[in-house]
Symmetry: C2
Subunit: 237 residues, 2 copies
């Protein structure tokens, strides 16, 4: 089913999900952007998400607050240090401490709720290859299991035989390919945020895993990264 | 795994989940109660949940706000009338308009997040037999699909071989059996709320599906329902 159907796109304000929103449009859906404010450190991502959503022509944009900091458990929701200066190969060998328990499942569940209200079974999420070596909830078998569960969970699945589809267009792409695709689709990278520990005024640290991956990808593509980085590259909050 | 293990119990403030919390303790777990405030009409349920949690000795109680009213879609989150005066047989033949899209999936996902942080794979939810004829996400096959998904979604499932278990002790019980079990376990029914449309001062309407089921169950067990009902039985908010 394509054409006029809406699709819910999980939009974090990061680089990956911005590219996903653009891809969703090219695949013939009317994107409805959903941003989850789960208490992550990077508050500026939320503002960026609105700018991206406007720039890429999402039909609606909802920001939903779910306070996952109540029980901690991740470097992204507090209580752990973000690692810096790691080699990219090193990042891929363990579940990152930035893993937020059940994050994608919570996000997809909420997206499923809105999608059902919109009368669609299509949800887009920006999980990708490097993530999937580290985060359990970025693996293809996880998304297939989520779809099966969704088919049984919903009125649309039971009464209307809606077949739920979790679209993961970035899953097998490298960061470099994602950036290249974003360039082709005129994604406004200047509004995207990746850093795990930006300064209060929104400068990226340049040394956390997310910054290192992003910088390497832009360098490989051969275009400048339009966001601003701290000059000295040291970490601070 | 029983004994000292914690278990997350989804506690709504209603009658069913209160009985589940009591059952969880008898099954040897340390219950950690999780109440989701999703913008439901019955605000008093949230206060009731705290009283139940205290009375039944939950180890912790967290109230998490997730505003599912942003997209409507259910009589419980606004926009539809609650049906009243229906025969119990009538309630069982269709998905109720009080169905909230993806509610149990969202609740279980959040419970899963907290459970993983607590180091357990055990979650309790008060879904039961009458629900399950109406709500797709109260059926046994749904819960099994959720468990499969959870095993793939989490660090504990992947790295520690945690087998997720969604406990549904009420699933095959009638409301009457649930009340009887609650009496045996000293559940403080006076703090439980069931009505879909209580008055501002907390009186139950006595005519919505939830009230009718509850009243019939107490009558069948032969004990008085300790909560207060409107005298005239008419609906108003």
């Amino acid at each position: 089913m394509t054409g006029d159907s809406p699709a819910v796109v999980l939009l974090s304000g990061g680089l990956d999900s911005a590219v996903v929103l653009a891809i969703c449009r090219t695949e013939g859906f009317r994107p409805c952007a959903l941003t989850i404010d789960y208490g992550q450190r990077n508050r500026l991502e939320l503002e960026g998400a609105t700018q991206i959503s406007d720039a890429l022509g999402a039909e609606q944009h909802i920001v939903l607050k779910i306070d996952l900091t109540q029980w901690g458990g991740s470097a992204l929701t507090g209580g752990h240090e973000v690692p810096t200066g790691r080699a990219i190969e090193e990042m891929a060998h363990s579940i990152p401490i930035t893993y937020v328990p059940a994050r994608n499942t919570i996000f997809l569940s909420v997206a499923m709720a809105w999608a059902e209200t919109l009368g669609t079974g299509h949800v887009y999420i920006g999980a990708h290859a490097l993530d999937y070596s580290g985060y359990p909830d970025c693996r293809p078998e996880y998304f297939r299991a989520f779809e099966q569960m969704a088919n049984l969970a919903t009125r649309s699945g039971v009464e209307e035989n809606t077949t739920w589809q979790i679209h993961t267009p970035l899953l097998r792409m490298t960061k470099q390919q994602i950036v290249r695709r974003g360039v082709a689709l005129a994604v406004p990278f200047e509004h995207t945020h990746s850093c795990y520990q930006p300064t209060r005024d929104g400068l990226a640290c340049g040394v956390c895993d997310a910054c290192l991956l992003r910088l390497a990808a832009f360098a490989a593509v051969g275009i400048p990264d339009p966001i601003h980085y701290r000059q000295d590259g040291t970490t601070s909050s």
